[in-house]
């Protein structure tokens, strides 16, 4: 089995970091858990069978790796995972495979594997293999040697590999999301919390707790820092916080607005909205030198900057035409040009992962939805149908986006694929959830 052993060193290195993480972020009491509710998938999802991983030791396994992989693939909307009760056999090794058994139940792909616990090392050896059923062909596989805390990480990484091998697009199951919850304590006081969780909503950690608003959460391109706006001093200020150590600093606290921080792709600059010179304009702060450069200078509102992946453009919202519309400009504020013309309200644009497409909040028929615009052709597509959608954030593979919406009385997070076909909700066990930000790749 030539695949065994690949990538083990890499996993070992991260294990120490993860161990430290788990100590630092001993789950705080009352962390709001997000759950997943799938509402829509594609019409013809790819059928995949994920066979329960065989346990090669006597110790019961602390995580159901098969279930995590199955849930990941199902959640993407692009796969349907075969129920275990419909499986005609439960192979875990190549020599046990009967491809006919999987063709009969209509499967295109098959995932098998096993887990062996080593008491000596206090580690789990996780091995998986992916097969093409029709061609009876081995596609990929890997073996990992990990601690109990890393079992979920490994399961998500296996999902990523399966997704990428079959679709050709990198998976996002091992990424994370940051978001803000708002609930009210016994005395009716606001309780804002900033959280980081796995992309499936599990393993949530609280990074900040305050009675004042938190908003505009943005992952740094290195996936290790967050920028956000907090009112904890009584005024809006921009903070940058290390996700691992929770260490943080104020990077902008001018008179008036300090809002909408946006990282440059190289992580060296933050574009932001300040009103210290009298009116909301966009500035660019160098995190290395502290130098501040003003990029827009208009008596109208200019806010919500976001960099293109190549760093050569910044999109922003301006009401200089009378209502909010999306504009773009060069990284020094040059060549300011309007991009959206359809409707009276278009705001908070983000690039979808390439220069030619943005996603943003669009108002039509009294509803606020997430829309996409092809900058080249001017073609606009409405991606969501819920009534009060805001704060879209792209997944790093450019296929899915997460946004905030209302369902009944509560603010919830929702995920939709850019083609509009797959969709799921991430409601919280308590209070409102808002201001999601999808992490970049972290491994």
């Amino acid at each position: 089995m030539g695949v065994c052993g690949e990538g083990i060193g890499k996993v070992k290195k991260t294990s120490l970091v993860l161990l430290l993480l788990s100590i630092l972020f001993w789950p705080l009491a009352g962390v709001a858990q997000l759950t997943i509710e799938i509402s829509e998938g594609v019409d013809n999802p790819i059928p995949v069978a994920v066979v329960p991983f065989a346990n090669r030791s006597v110790t019961p396994l602390p995580e159901d790796v098969r279930q995590i992989i199955s849930d990941d693939l199902q959640r993407s909307g692009e796969f349907s995972s075969l129920d275990v009760s419909r499986m005609l056999g439960l192979p875990s090794r190549r020599e046990e495979l009967q491809f006919r058994d999987w063709r009969i139940v209509g499967q295109s792909y098959l995932v098998i594997g096993d887990i062996e616990y080593s008491q000596l090392e206090n580690k789990y050896a996780v091995r998986y293999e992916l097969y093409d059923v029709a061609q009876e062909k081995f596609l990929t596989g890997q073996k990992y040697n990990v601690t109990v805390e890393q079992l979920r990480d490994v399961a998500h990484q296996i999902s990523d590999r399966i997704y990428e091998t079959i679709t050709g697009v990198r998976g996002i199951f091992a990424t994370r999301i940051a978001y803000v919850t708002l609930s009210r304590d016994d005395k009716g006081r606001d309780d804002y919390r900033l959280h980081v969780a796995d992309a499936d909503g599990r393993r949530a950690q609280t990074l900040l707790k305050t009675s004042e608003p938190i908003l505009s959460v943005a992952w740094a391109p290195d996936g290790r820092r967050l920028a956000y706006v907090s009112f904890e001093s009584g005024r809006p200020a921009i903070y940058v916080q290390q996700v691992d150590t929770a260490a943080r600093k104020v990077v902008s606290a001018h008179k008036g607005l300090n809002s909408a921080p946006a990282w440059s792709p190289d992580g060296r600059y933050l574009a932001m909205t300040l009103s210290k010179d009298g009116n909301a304009d966009i500035y660019r702060l160098s995190l290395d030198t502290g130098e501040l450069k003003r990029l827009t200078n208009h008596y109208a509102i200019d806010t919500e900057p976001s960099w293109s992946p190549d760093g050569k453009s910044i999109v922003f919202t301006s009401d200089r035409s009378g209502g909010p519309q999306i504009y773009w400009m060069g990284p020094d504020g040059e060549r300011q040009e309007r991009l959206t013309f359809d409707g009276k309200y278009n705001a908070r644009a983000r690039f979808s992962g390439e220069r030619s497409q943005i996603i943003y909040v669009h108002q039509q028929n009294g509803q606020f939805n997430i829309a996409s615009l092809n900058i080249g052709t001017g073609e606009q597509k409405i991606l969501t149908q819920t009534p009060l959608d805001e704060s879209p954030s792209m997944a790093p593979n450019g296929r899915m986006l997460i946004y905030a919406t209302r369902r009944g009385k509560n603010g919830v997070l929702a995920v939709v694929s850019l083609d509009g076909r797959a969709k799921y909700f991430l409601p919280s066990s308590q209070g409102d959830v808002r201001e999601p930000s999808w992490s970049p790749y972290t491994y």
Binding site: S275, A280, I301, T317, Q363
Partner: protein, 192 residues
């Protein structure tokens, strides 16, 4: 915290209102006492001459006029303080122009702030929940700035004023329909 500020503000208002009306009544009292003491003196010296009668009549008229003016001033003070009880000003969706119905109350605040240089005011700007959070933060600031500018044009000093926008983060009303949204698109004058 918010409640505290509001209580402090209304206390400050009560105190200032009672101080003002106290001044008014004192002025009327002196006006009334003066002529009555002189009339006493006139009585002790016996019958009144024609000049004395004319003087008394003139005095009575002067007194009535002073009382009328005092009453008017009093009414004006009460009117102004009643106007200053209006501290929340509403805006249309995605707009930051002050509505015409707000100007009377805003003028009363401006006059009061101008007449009391020690007074400090924070103008809070808010937006309803629709649209994007950062745009709403800027929109709230535009609303607060519009109120601030009105107060300055009408006599308040810039040094007495400060503005802060909460965007859509601090709704006055929790509902998710137009009647609630209308109450949340606002600027609020908070006396410190």
């Amino acid at each position: 915290m918010k409640k505290n500020v509001m209580m402090k503000t209304s206390l400050a208002l009560l105190v200032s209102v009672s101080l003002l009306s106290g001044c008014g009544s004192k002025a009327t009292k002196t006006d009334m006492e003066d002529p009555s003491s002189s009339a006493y003196g006139a009585n002790s010296s016996g019958a009144l001459s024609a000049e004395e009668l004319a003087a008394q009549q003139a005095e009575a008229m002067r007194r009535a006029e002073a009382e009328r003016l005092a009453r008017m001033a009093d009414t004006k003070v009460k009117e102004q303080s009643a106007l200053r009880e209006i501290r929340t000003f509403y805006f249309d969706f995605d707009k930051y122009e002050i509505k015409s119905e707000a100007t009377l109350a805003l003028s009363a605040h401006a006059a009061y702030i101008a007449a009391n240089p020690g007074v400090k005011v924070v103008v809070e700007g808010h937006a309803d929940e629709r649209g994007t959070k950062d745009y709403n933060l800027a929109l709230g600031e535009k609303r607060a700035n519009a109120v601030e500018r009105f107060l300055i044009i009408n006599g308040a000093s810039r040094a007495q004023l400060e503005s802060v926008s909460y965007g859509e983060e601090r709704p006055a009303v929790m509902g998710h329909e137009e009647s609630s949204w209308a109450k949340n698109r606002r600027a609020v004058i908070v006396y410190q």
